[in-house]
């Protein structure tokens, strides 16, 4: 059995209707996994950039990039080797928790409190996906009410 590795692939596509479903259909039709997916338009262009976190053997990853390339609206596919990767996460806590502790913890993970309400506080952090996972483990003791993760974005070094 070939070993499966986590890979980050960036795809530059024409920003047109149905392009996202072309990409996701390809993954489901060929039995590939999507761990996370982020999409946003590239400023001042007709293109969008997708960052896909996936996993598979070397052969599978090679097939994924080739199959992505075959889609007509795909301009470029980058299979990243050496990259800077960041993900954002927001967490909602009860306002009754220790705000000072939470705030300190957030700072250690590139984040801060972004909203304080009567009943809840909301924090955000932006860091590497692995560190986000660490953070989410650590904050369990503060009884988080809701957690969202953005999925990764990445740039080649």
């Amino acid at each position: 059995m070939e070993t499966s590795e986590r890979r980050v692939i960036s795809v530059i596509v024409i920003n047109e209707s149905s392009v996202l479903s072309r990409i996701t259909d390809l993954f489901s039709a060929r039995g590939y996994n999507i761990t996370s997916l982020t999409v946003a338009p590239i400023p001042e262009s007709k293109y969008s950039r997708l960052t896909i976190v996936t996993s598979g053997s070397v052969r599978v990853i090679e097939q994924i990039t080739k199959q992505l390339h075959k889609l007509i609206p795909v301009l470029k596919v980058y299979e990243h080797e050496d990259l800077v990767e960041k993900e954002m996460s927001m967490v909602k806590f009860p306002a009754s928790e220790n705000i000072a502790d939470i705030s300190t913890l957030c700072e250690a993970y590139n984040g801060k409190i972004v909203n304080v309400g009567e009943n809840v506080i909301i924090v955000m952090i932006a860091d590497e996906p692995k560190r986000i996972e660490n953070f989410l483990k650590l904050i369990k003791r503060y009884n988080p009410k809701e957690i969202v993760r953005s999925g990764a974005v990445a740039l080649e070094r």
Partner: protein, 565 residues
């Protein structure tokens, strides 16, 4: 000029030099059909089912090399066509399929005959479009034809809402396409080609593995030249039949599940596979880990995703196979054809050991005999289509193909019901040749309504029904692998095929002897109308040799030896 979307469709088809369109009208496509009524730039052939329209366009495309065009309406019209789209996609057939859609204002409301057509066709087309305004139509149609025919060919689906076909906009087809995200790689890398030539020169037992991509690329005659100049033996896939002529000394035969013993053994013994336009399909390779186990692999393909998908390529060359073979021919003097003489002897011995054969029977006609007989009588003068099943494999094994585009069959998807409509398309593209459809008593019923089309449009397709009163291929597997439990494959109850053909205005024959068959075929050709020739054949005949699914190519079930023909 300012014209309606419907008129644009007509103008674009004429500009693309389309001569034949297959289709079926309906509510959402009526504006376009109204314009078809008014024009005389191309002929429209009304099939009696949308699936048949697509298969007919596929047959037309495969026989002519041109882009096949079909037209259908929304909803059920479109869903009926999906099998055809998937078939064309699997076999890389260049097609433009235009469907009507409910008006823009109704899209998403579950309107009458509404279905998300582009959502469905996305995974079985090379590309698709939902056209949202008439101003986009000229560009979209031009792109559709371009994308269908270039790179690895395939079907392109264009879905046009009814109000868009009524909308008036500027039509200018004389536009430059600017597809910056679509630039197929057609020229092979010269360094890779040089390395590949060196690898061939160094090899002791090289083998050409010829695939259907050669036919698509119109490269068969270049490949013939290359094979002859190198003296290297060649095996063909089912889809590549006709690349080399059947009597070519260097043609070993067809390989794969029902390939010849010699072809499969050659593939197992070779030290260098030269794959041209082939994609290492599971029906070809058998057990992958045992496939050409000791061989290096040169893989030439227009589609980078086909290379190293299943078998790792040591010399990957992305490019149009015609270009690449021409580039290779320029260096062919580096290859010494005499060097492979002993390898050719080895293969000749394989051929002598277990030639492709069948046992004759005195009582009943053997299905293989029918194929061979048509080959003897018509040979190069016929184009051969098939349906799917045993008769299809026998056609691939026993017909003496002499040229590319002579053999039209549903290879990748394996669509029963393909043969008859495809044979109509073949006849429309190539009227000077007799259009034969080898079919079975199972397959023919899946599109037999096309008798009406063939009668109305005077398309004299000769359907040769090898009737064993079984769903033969499935029955064969049940016999061999399911302990003879013939579950739901016994087709003892069948229509009267002669009356069926006659009911539509065609001609029918039922034959039980060889003499009757010869007479029926002769008569059908003379009568020059659509015909069913039902041949009562041996019921339990199996397609042999055979590599059981997932088995290794060198481990074949062989024809039992007894006074073999």
């Amino acid at each position: 000029m300012q014209i309606s979307g419907a008129q644009m469709v007509i103008e674009a088809l004429i500009a693309e030099e389309v001569t034949t369109v297959f289709g079926y009208p309906g509510g959402a496509i009526m504006n376009v059909y109204d314009e078809i009524y008014k024009q005389d730039g191309f002929q429209h052939i009304l099939t009696r089912h949308e699936q048949a329209a697509i298969h007919a366009a596929e047959g037309y495309s495969k026989a002519s090399g041109k882009v096949g065009v079909a037209m259908i309406t929304s909803g059920p019209g479109f869903t009926n066509a999906v099998t055809g789209l998937a078939d064309a996609y699997m076999d890389s057939i260049p097609m433009v399929v235009i469907s009507g859609q409910v008006p823009m204002s109704l899209i998403g409301t579950d309107a009458f005959q509404e279905i998300d057509a582009v959502g469905i066709s996305r995974s079985c087309t090379k590309h698709n479009y939902l056209v949202t305004c008439a101003a986009d139509l000229p560009r979209v149609l031009k792109e559709a034809f371009h994308i269908a025919a270039t790179g690895r060919p395939g079907p392109v689906h264009v879905d046009i809402p009814k109000d868009v076909t009524a909308e008036i906009a500027e039509f200018n087809y004389d536009i430059e396409l600017n597809l910056e995200t679509y630039k197929p790689h057609v020229k092979g890398n010269p360094r890779q080609i040089k390395k590949a030539i060196q690898a061939i020169a160094d090899a002791k037992r090289p083998l050409f593995y010829l695939g259907g991509g050669i036919i698509n690329a119109n490269a068969a005659y270049e490949v013939r030249d290359f094979v002859h100049k190198t003296g290297i033996p060649a095996v063909e896939t089912f889809m590549a039949r006709g690349t080399l002529s059947y009597d070519d000394e260097l043609l070993v035969g067809m390989l794969g599940m029902h390939g010849s013993y010699a072809s499969n053994m050659a593939m197992s013994e070779t030290d260098l596979v030269i794959a041209l336009g082939a994609r290492f399909d599971d029906r070809v390779t058998g057990k992958l880990s045992e496939f050409a186990k000791n061989a290096g692999v040169i893989h030439v393909d227009i589609d980078p995703a086909s290379i190293s998908k299943l078998v790792n390529a040591d010399y990957p060359i992305v490019g149009d196979v015609k270009n690449v073979v021409n580039d290779m021919l320029a260096q062919v003097d580096k290859i010494d054809s005499k060097k492979y003489a002993s390898w050719r002897d080895v293969i000749n011995n394989f051929e002598k050991l277990h030639p492709l054969a069948y046992h004759e029977d005195t009582d009943r006609i053997k299905p293989q005999w029918v194929i061979e007989r048509v080959g003897e009588l018509l040979g190069d003068d016929a184009n051969i289509s098939t349906d799917v099943g045993q008769h299809q494999m026998w056609s691939g094994q026993f017909y003496p193909f002499t040229r590319p585009r002579q053999f039209i069959s549903s290879g990748g998807l394996g669509t029963m019901g393909f043969g008859f409509p495809a044979a109509m398309g073949v006849k429309a593209a190539s009227p000077e040749k007799t259009s034969i459809n080898f079919t079975g008593d199972g397959s023919i019923l899946m599109n037999c309504q096309e008798l009406m089309t063939a009668v109305e449009k005077k398309i004299p397709v000769i359907n040769i029904i090898l009737n064993n009163n079984f769903l033969g291929m499935v029955r064969q597997w049940q016999t061999l692998f399911y302990d003879k439990r013939h579950s739901e494959t016994d087709l003892s109850v069948q229509p009267d095929f002669v009356k069926l053909a006659e009911a539509f205005g065609g001609i029918g024959y039922r034959v039980k002897t060889k003499e009757e068959f010869d007479a029926a075929l002769k008569d059908a050709i003379e009568k020059n109308i659509v015909a069913f020739i039902e041949v009562i054949v041996e019921r339990m005949e199996n397609v042999m040799p055979m590599v059981p699914a997932g088995g290794s190519l060198f481990n074949m079930m062989l024809l039992e030896k007894k006074g073999a023909k």
